[in-house]
Symmetry: C2
Subunit: 181 residues, 2 copies
DNA sequence: GCTAGCATGTAAACGGTTACATGATTAG
DNA sequence: CTAATCATGTAACCGTTTACATGCTAGC
């Protein structure tokens, strides 16, 4: 149980909203990040097959039409449970890695409990707040100003700006979600 | 030729500065991003072995000391050439993916030609400047304000802040490096 | 005496990339 | 008529993860 990486998460996340076939999943995933995350056929179709083998999705051939007839995919109860589990208890790497955390964020609203949502955001916030979130030398964090290499200094400046924007958004959102409603 | 991903690039990048053994490479790579990119032994040692098999690094056992004696690694001429080639002509994915681009930036100063450095930065800038760099719906870019889902809206806000900071730094740095010197 | 850190490695399972293969429909 | 888009898949290769395996040294 619990196979697959980001790709499996995204497939389940999209199918949780409505059934669709593989090719459409592909374009949805691409659109999600400005074609930044392109999915190859050789990754997508085997991933679907694995989800099916594990009973997380079902497939129904749509008749009529074309050469390669559409395989409409529907998430199962088991698939939905697995999606919720993965959103509720993401692995450390899914909190730590920006790209993977964004994949999580994309589907986080599918979690029915606000408390569970807040718990995930808090984990990310804690990670970003510890000063170890970037670039070490001789055992402790390096300040951008003291880095001689211009490219490494740039990385630090960018990382700092990014972190700041994200931390502010996380604090604001956690607060809003925590209000008694 | 031309095997390996980010990990091989980082190993070559570090060894280009000075010889060191595997365990130290491991801690350097971890320190580079605040333990964000952790390298497992099962990835590191095989990667070193591949580089050695390809003649890009050489290994000399350091005598004295311990149970598992240090294998001091030195980059070869061929390895240096391969590093330069990879820094000069990164693959699209290394420009597109933030994590991979940062790995490139870390070692970019090893490129002797400022023109070559600028060419790499320009590729990243062009990528960030095209509006397709984030989040599509119904065929064109989505504005944060019109996204109902609070988590997706957050992603857009964060991505916008990040992109802005990085674009500014890229423009400034390209200009500085382009000054006749 | 035990734990943490130093130091190197192997093997199975997994998942992604790249290239290949097929074929219908639609727009220029 | 031709190219792009729709639509699904397979197979070889590659690199990572995870777990296992070993053993020394230093500090508590």
């Amino acid at each position: 149980m619990s196979r697959g990486g980001d790709l499996a998460l995204m497939i389940l996340g999209f199918l949780n909203r409505e059934p669709m076939h593989g090719y459409e999943l592909k374009s949805r995933i691409a659109a999600l990040s400005g074609h930044l995350r392109q999915v190859s056929d050789g990754a997508l179709y085997p991933a679907i097959a694995r989800l099916e083998a594990d009973g997380l999705v079902e497939r129904h051939e749509e008749q009529g039409a074309a050469a390669a007839p559409r395989q409409v995919l529907t998430i199962t109860g088991k698939g939905r449970a697995e999606l919720m589990r993965r959103l509720r208890e993401p692995k450390d790497a899914e909190i730590t890695d920006q790209t993977r955390f964004f994949a999580l964020l994309t589907f986080l609203s599918a979690l029915p409990s606000r408390e569970d949502q807040v718990r995930v955001l808090r984990r990310r916030l804690e990670f970003l707040e510890q000063p170890s979130s970037f670039f070490y030398e001789d055992g402790r964090p390096v300040r951008a100003e003291e880095v001689a290499d211009p490219f490494r200094r740039g990385m630090l400046l960018i990382a700092r700006a990014t972190g700041k924007a994200e931390i502010e958004w996380l604090r604001r959102t956690i607060e809003e979600l925590s209000l008694p409603q």
